[in-house]
Amino acid sequence: MAWTWFHRLGSPPYIYSLAARLTPWFAWPAALLMLAGLIDGLVLSPPDYQQGDGFRMMYVHVPTAYMSIMIYTTMAISAAVGLIWRIKVAHAVAASCAPIGASITLCALVTGSLWGAPMWGTYWEWDPRLTSELILLFLYLGYMGLRSATEDVQRADRISAVLAVVGVVNVPIIHFSVVWWNSLHQAPSLMRLGKPTIAVSMLIPLLLMLLAFTLFFVAVLLVRLRAEILSRERSASWIREVVTP
């Protein structure tokens, strides 16, 4: 029973229709949660004792930074699945993740820089966390560049999968960099063992935004995945019913 379900997940037409059906279930909640998070974060929640209203930048920086890593991990896992079990759909998922991840990483870097400027007195520091986040951006760009430079789609899938898996060493570096080194960046207050060290009134909008961004990512991924599947399944018969309006 479970095996047939797993098999269906590898079938492009099934995934295509599943993605089409699921997208609104992620898109609309994402939009609502983002609105709620924005209102809570910008208006309702209190200013920080030390950073005042500047603290509110956390509500965009932390979700985007978190997503930049989550998206890469998703990309690396689906690439590995595609590489090991030779499942084309998994490669399509990985390919769809990359542009989203790259733009979100850029956003994380810039919002972080804008937050750091008034708080640390500098727009940029070559400290471990910022450097490894920059490396993450280069990994995304390298992945996309490698894909586009390789002509054969199957080879592009597999070679970029190797790259994605190799690059995954960067993810624990990003996360633990603030623990291992004396860094400008603050130590983890959320993703750590034990209770989060952040006030509840600030935790709520942060969680809302985190959830909103996660749902947003899945929604965009599903749309891109459909486009990716269509372009791969060049003249498969199932496309006819799906594409003719």
Partner: protein, 69 residues
Amino acid sequence: MKALSDFLDMGGYAGYLWPSYILTFVVVVLNVVWARRLLGRSREEARRRLATRAATEAGAAPTRAGEAT
């Protein structure tokens, strides 16, 4: 009015905060727009491919029918 201008001022951090939020908003919207456009284009391309295939098949058939007679 003062409340609004205070809000926009964000305790003096406006110059950093609003660009952050605007950039994030732009990235979110661009992702949505770009993804949807990509899907639209893929569907268009698929439609065109199917149409040309149908056309070439239809074009080939009469010749065969003509040869049969």
